[in-house]
Amino acid sequence: AQSVSQHNHHVILSEAASLELGCNYSYGGTVNLFWYVQYPGQHLQLLLKYFSGDPLVKGIKGFEAEFIKSKFSFNLRKPSVQWSDTAEYFCAVTVSGGGADGLTFGKGTHLIIQP
């Protein structure tokens, strides 16, 4: 079975700092990769996804992620964070196949942006 590791459980940054959140997965086959964000009191929202093609994917709110197959990684980046980026960030994977496959989530990274 696949698993997802997010290295940083808590990250504190100042506004305008650059962000990189690590995500590694373990699965030998083809995967689909996702980053979700959960703002306080809100539901999980899709930031971006990778299915195939260009390994650098751009998402909403200025986020991007790079899929590095050799490293089994899908790190999330943002060049300049804002206070409104304070949230919980989840990396998730599903094996490439039918639409019924459930997501396997990492434990999440709690990001706090200080003004």
């Binding site: 539901h43 299915f51 998730a92 459930g102 997501l103």
Partner: protein, 113 residues
């Protein structure tokens, strides 16, 4: 933007009671899911549902759990005899097909006392 709607937002139940958590997926989506998140832990997949039947289920989804799509719009998760350890946030999600992301609802916080 279309949303997945979950009701209630918070439910408190006594141990041993049955609960039904309700979800209205996005109307043209074909795949439906339930996930749960115990406080302080990761979001865990419970079950997926497609074409009016269960497609995949995790080891968490044992005989006390069941899902239904009774009327073509609602998607329910029933827990027959709740236990303290069932206390968690339960998320419903839906998906148009395998090339799309999953859209999540706001969740139902279930507290078993």
């Amino acid at each position: 933007e279309p949303e997945v709607t979950q009701t209630p937002s918070h439910q408190v139940t006594q141990m041993g009671q049955e609960v039904i958590l309700r979800c209205v997926p996005i109307s043209n989506h074909l795949y439906f899911y339930w996930y749960r998140q115990i406080l302080g832990q990761k979001v865990e997949f419970l079950v997926s549902f497609y074409n009016n039947e269960i497609s995949e289920k995790s080891e968490i989804f044992d005989d006390q759990f069941s899902v239904e799509r009774p009327d073509g719009s609602n998607f329910t998760l029933k827990i027959r005899s709740t236990k303290l350890e069932d206390s968690a946030m339960y998320f419903c999600a839906s998906r148009l097909d395998s090339f799309y992301g999953y859209t999540f609802g706001s969740g139902t916080r279930l507290t078993v006392v």
